[in-house]
C-alpha cells in the first residue's frame, strides 16, 4: 500500500477545484485517508475507491451534521478535522441531487477579506505617517547626511523586510483570489436566486416626475420608510433611488398602498435577500458595498389588510435597530475622540492663550471647524440611538 502526501496551499480559496481534485485522485486509485486542513496537507492511500463525488464543508461549531435528506441521497462524512469536513458520495456527480450549503464558508471567506483590508489600511496609514515625519526634513532643503552604521543586527532588518514583503504578497493574493472565489460560489447557486430587480420604466414625457434629495436617512431609517409610504399615498410612486442613496425619483401615478422596509446588514447576505424576494418584497435599492449594506424594500398591500413588515416581531426589530445604532457609534466615536483630543488639549488652550485673532489663519480655521465636525458626528450618533429607542418604545 503506497501513500501519497500532497501539500496544497490555499486549497480553501478554490473549494470547487479542491473537491474535484480529490475526486480525480480517487479515480486514480488514491483514497483520502488523512486531512490536515490547517497545514494544507492531504494524505492519500492506494486502495479501492469508495466515493465519486466530494464536497468540503466548513462549520465553525465543528459538528458537521448530516441531514437525513443528504444521507438518503448517498452522502456521508468521509473525513473531518476541526472546522473542516470532507463529505463523500458514492454516486456520480450528475446523479447526486442534493448538495451542502456553503454559507459558513462564505462567511469565513468574507472575514478573511475584512482582515486583509484592515491590514492594508493600517499599512497605508503607517507609511503615510512616516512619510509625514520624514518628508518635511527632506523637503526643507537643509543638507543632511544619512550614515549607515555597520552592525550585525542589520540582517534582522532585512529578514523582517523580506517577511513583510511576503505577507503583503499573500495579502494581495488572498484578496484577489477570494474576490474570484466569491463570484464562483455565488454563480454556483445562481439558479435559486429569484430576486425581483427594480427596472426603470421607459421615460414617457406625459408623466409628471419629481426628484427629491434626502441625506442622512441611515440614522433614522424608520423616518425614511414613513416618508416613502406617505409619498405613495399622495400619488408619487418611487421609481428609482440613485447610487449613493441620496436622490429619490418619483413619478405621478395612482395612489396605492405600499409598505416600505429599510434593512441594514453588517455583511451582504444574498440568501436573505432571495428569501425576502420570494416572500413578495421588491428590492428598490441596495448599496454597493458588500459589508455594511443598506437596502430598501417595498410591497404593495390592499386596504383593510395588515401592513406587511419584513421584521414583524419586536425582538428582531430591536435587533435590527441596535445594529444601526452600534455601527454608527463604532464608526464615529473614535473620530470624535481624536478630534476632541486635538481640540481640547492643543487648539482651544492656544486660542484662549493667544486670543482668537492673533493665531494664524489656518489655526483659526481649524479651531472653528473642529468643534463643528465633532458636533455633526455627535448628532449622527444621537440620531441613531434615538431611532433605537423609538423602535424599543413601540
Amino acid at each position: 500500500m503506497s501513500e501519497k502526501s500532497i501539500w496544497k496551499p490555499f486549497w480553501s480559496f478554490h473549494i470547487q477545484n479542491t473537491e474535484q481534485w480529490i475526486g480525480e485522485m480517487e479515480k486514480k486509485g488514491y483514497t483520502l485517508t488523512r486531512f490536515q486542513p490547517k497545514l494544507s496537507h492531504f494524505t492519500f492511500t492506494e486502495e479501492a475507491p469508495s466515493h465519486e463525488t466530494f464536497a468540503i464543508s466548513f462549520d465553525r461549531s465543528r459538528q458537521h451534521p448530516l441531514p437525513n435528506a443528504l444521507k438518503v441521497d448517498g452522502w456521508e462524512v468521509v473525513n473531518k478535522h476541526g472546522k473542516w469536513a470532507v463529505y463523500g458520495n458514492a454516486r456520480q456527480k450528475e446523479e447526486v441531487k442534493t448538495s451542502i450549503v456553503r454559507d459558513n464558508l462564505e462567511a469565513r471567506n468574507s472575514k478573511i477579506v475584512t482582515f486583509w483590508w484592515i491590514f492594508f489600511i493600517y499599512i497605508i496609514f503607517s507609511i503615510a505617517l512616516q512619510a509625514g515625519l520624514l518628508l518635511p526634513v527632506y523637503l526643507s532643503g537643509d543638507s543632511f547626511t544619512v550614515t549607515r552604521i555597520e552592525s550585525p543586527m542589520w540582517f534582522l532588518t532585512y529578514i523582517i523586510f523580506a517577511g513583510q514583503f511576503v505577507v503583503t504578497l499573500i495579502g494581495i493574493y488572498s484578496l484577489i483570489t477570494l474576490q474570484r472565489e466569491s463570484k464562483r460560489l455565488s454563480e454556483e447557486d445562481a439558479q435559486s436566486q429569484i430576486l425581483v430587480h427594480n427596472e426603470d420604466k421607459p421615460t414617457t414625457l406625459s408623466v409628471e416626475r419629481q426628484n427629491k434629495f434626502k441625506f442622512g436617512w441611515m440614522y433614522a431609517p424608520d423616518k425614511l420608510e414613513r416618508w416613502l409610504e406617505e409619498k405613495e399615498q399622495l400619488g408619487w410612486h418611487l421609481t428609482h433611488i440613485r447610487k449613493g442613496g441620496f436622490k429619490f425619483q418619483f413619478e405621478k401615478s395612482d395612489t396605492k398602498l405600499y409598505a416600505y422596509s429599510v434593512l441594514f446588514e453588517g455583511r451582504a447576505d444574498r440568501n436573505a435577500h432571495a428569501f425576502h424576494g420570494e416572500a413578495g418584497w421588491e428590492r428598490v435599492y441596495v448599496s454597493g458595498m458588500s459589508w455594511q449594506q443598506w437596502s430598501v424594500w417595498r410591497q404593495a398591500y390592499s386596504e383593510g389588510k395588515e401592513k406587511p413588515e419584513i421584521n414583524d416581531d419586536p425582538e428582531s426589530k430591536q435587533r435590527a435597530a441596535m445594529r444601526v445604532a452600534k455601527i454608527h457609534t463604532l464608526m464615529f466615536a473614535p473620530i470624535i475622540f481624536l478630534f476632541g483630543f486635538n481640540f481640547f488639549s492643543f487648539m482651544l488652550p492656544d486660542a484662549l492663550e493667544q486670543g482668537y485673532f492673533s493665531i494664524s489663519g489656518i489655526e483659526r480655521f481649524n479651531t472653528t471647524v473642529y468643534p463643528f465636525i465633532m458636533f455633526l458626528f455627535l448628532i449622527n450618533i444621537l440620531r441613531a440611538w434615538a431611532y433605537y429607542f423609538r423602535v424599543r418604545g413601540q
Binding site: 441531514p67 435528506a69 448538495s99 450549503v101 435559486s192 425576502h276 419584513i310 421584521n311 428582531s316
Partner: protein, 112 residues
C-alpha cells in the same frame, strides 16, 4: 439527557409563537424558507403571516443552536430539516401546550 440538550431546552421552552410555528412546520417535513411562511399561513387559516426577516432571523438562530440543519436540493434551493435535538425541543413545547390546553378547557367548563 446531556447538559447541552438541557441548555437548549431551557433557552427555547417556552418559545415565541413564531419560533413554535417554524419548528412545527419543520417537524412535519423539511421545507424551504418561503414554504414555512405559506404552511403557517394555511394552518392558522391566514391569521399569521410571518415576516420574512423574522423567519430568517429565527432560522439562523436555530441553525446555530443545532435545532435544524440546512442542505440544498436539486434546484439548489435551501431546505431546512429538523434535527433530533430539534424534535426533543418541539416535543417538550407541545407537552407544555397540551397542559395549557387541558387547563383552558377545564376552567372554561367550570365557568359555564
Amino acid at each position: 439527557m446531556t447538559e447541552q440538550t438541557d441548555k437548549v431546552i431551557k433557552k427555547y421552552v417556552p418559545m415565541s409563537e413564531t419560533a413554535f410555528y417554524i419548528l412545527l412546520s419543520l417537524f412535519k417535513q423539511p421545507q424551504h424558507g418561503y414554504g414555512i411562511v405559506k404552511y403557517v399561513e394555511v394552518i392558522t387559516s391566514g391569521r399569521l403571516t410571518l415576516g420574512s426577516g423574522t423567519v430568517y432571523g429565527t432560522i439562523t438562530k436555530m441553525l446555530k443552536d443545532h435545532l435544524i440543519v440546512v442542505y440544498a436540493n436539486e434546484e439548489r434551493k435551501k431546505i431546512y430539516e429538523i434535527t433530533e435535538l430539534g424534535k426533543v425541543v418541539i416535543q417538550r413545547e407541545m407537552t407544555r401546550l397540551e397542559e395549557l390546553y387541558t387547563n383552558v378547557i377545564a376552567h372554561r367548563g367550570d365557568k359555564k
